[in-house]
């Protein structure tokens, strides 16, 4: 087989864990190398994923049609009420707009859409060329807000102005403008906001229920099943619980500074991390021992039911090897633990947007010989999947065909999933999905097993 080599500009973003060998820190937090076919998206994408689940807001993409078309109803972020987020709105800029400016078109679009759909607020996403043609989005938004009486918030998400992380920040910036504008009356002292949980396949509802069983009030979920009024009163909570730390830590820090709300980082994937995320919230309210008791009760009930049902999967999957390539590094930590709990080891772990601390922790957690990558690409992923003989790849839509072409199982752990993978029930779903993909008899025909095709 042909040897696949790594591009020179990428070598510092990859290493293999070897004990006793002095290893340099991984290089990360850089923009993608031109021509390397990164799996990352852009600033706009970052903003769009964070704000997308706010279901009673108008999301207007200011730019040519592509950006809105490719993000139309793209995610499994579900709503218990309004579903305005599932529609796609674009100013659909044309050549003349690029020459003469798109402000008028933006203004009319906003006035008409707000009249038609009566949203609680509007988010206006700037795309690449808006940054170039110099439209004064802020001024248009101010004008429309004044005329319509709803918050109209510009999101500075020009695709080229940074990486996806900058898009997260732009989205958080827009949310910060809303937070603090609602009433905090009647909010319990024992209350939290859930940050970075997007209610994919109803995951936020699962998590919320656990906390409510503990006697904790959930003031706002940012942004899963999100509502503008709930966002506005988020500053009334006593604690911010941040999952998907990549997207929302900035917001948590801002809220800490401005409103004195402390935050903790959690993950809802896998038994271990899911349980910890309940205990950690309980620990925050030490005066209420009943909350900790309730947390223990929730965990014990759930685990009692879950644990036996996992054994079938564990028996089948023990000794199988997994490769993980997801958006944020924090998820990788949980996935490694979750996979170990069903007998699997991890031979490749990577993310699009991890930082130095994340990779240091990853190195600590991983087994000897595990390859760790930042901002990888299809060629590299394939190389390591083959070299390390992985049986499973965990990733998103863009990674899926790599797995299937190479004849291994795949688990979609991205925004498009339709089955909840968070919470205790999510761990069951995860194990089931992994089992059903890895153990499928179809792989007997895969050429990597030496079958002639």
């Amino acid at each position: 087989m042909e040897q696949i080599t790594i591009l020179e500009g990428r070598q510092k973003q990859i290493f293999e864990k070897k004990t006793g060998v002095e290893q340099l820190d991984i290089s990360c937090d850089t923009s993608s190398l031109s021509g390397s076919v990164s799996q990352r998206a852009c600033v706009f994408c970052g903003s769009r994923v964070v704000l997308y689940p706010v279901a009673d807001a108008l999301h207007l993409v200011h730019g040519p049609i592509g950006c809105a078309a490719y993000t139309w109803d793209i995610r499994g972020a579900v709503s218990s009420g309004p579903e305005l987020h599932r529609l796609s709105f674009s100013t659909d800029l044309q050549e003349m707009d690029v020459i003469y400016g798109g402000e008028k078109k933006l203004y009319h679009s906003l006035i008409e859409l707000i009249e038609q759909y009566k949203p609680k607020a509007a988010f206006i996403y700037s795309t690449c060329i808006v940054g170039l043609i110099g439209d004064d989005i802020e001024a248009v938004c101010r004008k429309v807000a004044k005329e319509t009486g709803i918050p109209v918030l510009p999101v500075h998400s020009e695709g080229f102005k940074g990486t996806k992380k900058d898009g997260y920040k732009a989205a958080c910036h827009a949310l910060m403008k809303l937070i603090g504008t609602g009433s905090t009356e009647n909010i319990s002292k024992y209350s939290i906001n859930i940050l970075g949980e997007f209610n994919l396949a109803g995951e936020a509802w699962i998590i919320r229920k656990y906390y409510e069983k503990m006697g904790i009030e959930v003031v706002s979920t940012l942004t899963g099943d999100g509502r503008i009024d709930a966002v506005r009163r988020a500053h009334g909570a006593s604690l911010n619980v941040v999952q998907c730390s990549g997207s929302m830590t900035w917001l948590a820090k801002e809220m800490e500074q401005k409103y004195g709300i402390p935050y903790i980082r959690v993950s809802y994937f896998g038994i271990e991390d899911m349980s910890k995320s309940l205990y950690d919230v309980a620990k925050h309210f030490p005066e209420r021992t009943d909350i900790m008791e309730a947390a223990k009760q929730v965990v014990s009930e759930e685990v009692k039911e879950l644990y036996p049902s996992l054994q079938k999967f564990k028996k089948a999957l023990t000794g199988k090897k997994a490769a993980i390539y997801v958006g944020g590094a924090f998820k990788t930590f949980s996935l490694i633990k979750a996979l170990r709990s069903i007998g699997m080891s991890v031979v490749l772990a990577g993310s699009q947007t991890g930082n130095k601390d994340d990779y240091a922790r990853l190195k600590e957690m991983c087994d000897e010989g595990t390859v760790i990558v930042d901002d990888s690409n299809p060629v590299e992923l394939s190389k390591f999947i083959l070299e390390k003989e992985a049986d499973l790849l965990i990733g998103g839509v863009k990674e899926r065909p790599i797995a299937f072409k190479l004849g291994i199982g795949f688990c979609d752990h991205n925004h498009e999933r339709k089955i909840p993978l968070a919470g205790f029930v999510g761990m069951y779903n995860f194990a089931l999905e992994v089992y059903q993909s890895v153990m499928s008899p179809v792989w007997q025909f895969a050429p990597r097993k030496g079958v002639k095709i």
Binding site: G35, S36, C42, I129, V397, K398
Partner: protein, 450 residues
């Protein structure tokens, strides 16, 4: 209530570069390269993967702020170098985006400079440049721009060969395989572009392929200038924007320009043309296909006659489908497209002169909210088009028959036939079954024979 409408809502089109990337995937050993932000390449990959279920690597020059200010030359060159190194392509298909077009990057000049700077390195890939600003036209324009640019870059003058060029438009991998089979059966050498029948619908890999096997070889495209004819499908595709138009203008290769061959009449035109060009009769198996199709029309005619449908999608697909539907007695009460060539109505009228009397309405440049508003008034029996009509279909409880691109919510869109007798047969069967299923479900009796 009718609302004023400036914004596009639930677009019935995609952007220019997407079409270019797909077309470039139909060239052998070619990597599509988008000159713009990283997101464009990633979004388009994701969108194409959800339909074709194949890996599709699209490189990006990954603009950042300085690039936008100082121009994309530096990034493009680094990108080309990295792609050359990592993929070892024979061809790189470079398409621009709204960003690089707006800052005014002179891509042909950057390519010339690149070739000069790296001329002593490893073998230089052929570089094709298509201008595809997202603020003009839609994905279909990018598709044709890339095909034309490819021919323009590669085709050479030569003595007339017994060779036919065929430019099938944005059709499915299954359609491309069928066209190839037809041409092979006619035993005439051909150059079909773009041929993504294998790259976008191929087998499993025993080892990693940087670029999937398949596609039209550059050496074959080079011969296009010496063909005896070019066949080009797509009523709204003007010669000035098309590959066959270029070949006619530059090398005097006659251009035979037809609607997409869907339905018996349009398929007949295609087969008759092949018979004329090759001076031989069509192989009997196609007469068999045609006879079976006519027989099926007879068997199914009662189910479909005077059914009302709305058909939407790329203009040329809509035109081809309209021709077919009208010959089986189905009325497309609305032919709609997000495209805006200005030729949609004229082209339909050419094929169906009495379209007004039949109640066929045509609208171009519309989105799904416009189509939905029309649907409420026109009350069609079902909708025909890509997956993106599902939202409207579900909301208004009108069945949707899926075809074209993208098929994101059903399996096997890449293996769906649309063209020729075989494609028409498949479509006819599916249409009849849509009607039958609807009637069966609506019946309180639960008939087991329909």
């Amino acid at each position: 209530m009718k609302h004023a409408k400036t914004a596009t809502q639930n677009a019935c089109k995609l952007c220019n570069p997407l079409g270019a990337c797909l077309a470039f995937r139909g060239i052998e050993n070619c990597v599509p390269f988008l000159h713009g932000s990283q997101g464009c390449a990633t979004y388009i990959r994701r969108y194409l993967i959800s339909h074709y279920k194949e890996p599709i690597d699209i490189a990006s020059s990954n603009f950042h702020e300085e690039t936008a200010v100082f121009g994309g030359s530096h990034n493009l060159k680094i990108g080309l170098k990295n792609v050359s190194k990592q993929y070892k392509p024979e061809v790189i298909g470079i398409a621009t985006t709204c960003l690089s077009e707006t800052i005014g990057d002179d891509v042909p000049m950057i390519i010339r400079e690149y070739k000069q700077e790296f001329k002593n390195g490893s073998p230089m890939p052929i570089m094709i440049h298509a201008s595809t600003p997202s603020y003009m036209g839609s994905h279909i324009d990018g598709f044709h721009a890339a095909v034309r640019a490819t021919v323009k870059t590669l085709a050479e003058k030569g003595s007339r060969e017994k060779l036919i060029n065929i430019f099938p438009n944005m059709v499915s991998p299954a359609d491309i395989r069928y066209l190839k089979e037809i041409l092979e059966d006619f035993k005439i050498p051909y150059m079909l572009l773009p041929d993504y029948s294998q790259t976008m619908d191929g087998g499993p890999w025993g080892e990693y392929h940087r670029i999937p096997p398949g596609g039209t070889p550059a050496s074959a495209i080079a011969m296009a200038g010496s063909a005896i004819a070019s066949i080009e499908f797509g009523s709204t595709l003007e010669a000035s924007k098309s590959a066959a138009g270029y070949l006619e203008e530059a090398f005097g290769v006659p251009r035979y320009h037809y609607a997409l061959p869907i339905g018996i009449k349009e398929s007949d035109k295609f087969f008759t043309l092949l018979e004329t060009l090759t001076q031989q009769e069509r192989p009997e198996k196609y007469n068999d296909e045609r006879r079976r199709l006519i027989d099926a029309y007879a068997d199914g005619h009662k189910y479909v006659f005077e059914q009302k449908v709305i058909i939407y999608g790329e203009e040329d697909l809509v035109i081809g489908m309209t021709a077919f539907l009208s010959e089986i007695g189905i009325t497309p009460v609305l032919c709609a497209s997000g495209g805006k060539s200005g030729l949609l109505k004229k082209s339909i009228k050419e094929l169906i002169p009495d379209m007004e009397e039949l109640g066929i309405k045509v609208r171009e440049g519309v989105d799904f909210v416009d189509i939905e508003d029309e649907a409420k008034l026109l009350k069609p029996d079902f909708l025909i088009g890509n997956s993106k009509g599902y939202t409207m279909s579900r909301k208004n409880n009108i069945p949707l028959l899926r075809l074209g691109f993208p098929i994101h919510d059903r399996f096997g869109g890449q293996r769906m036939h649309h063209l020729g007798y075989r494609g028409t047969q498949e479509l006819f069967d599916r249409i009849v079954n849509t009607v039958i299923e609807q009637r069966q479900n609506a019946s309180s009796i639960g008939y087991t024979y329909m």
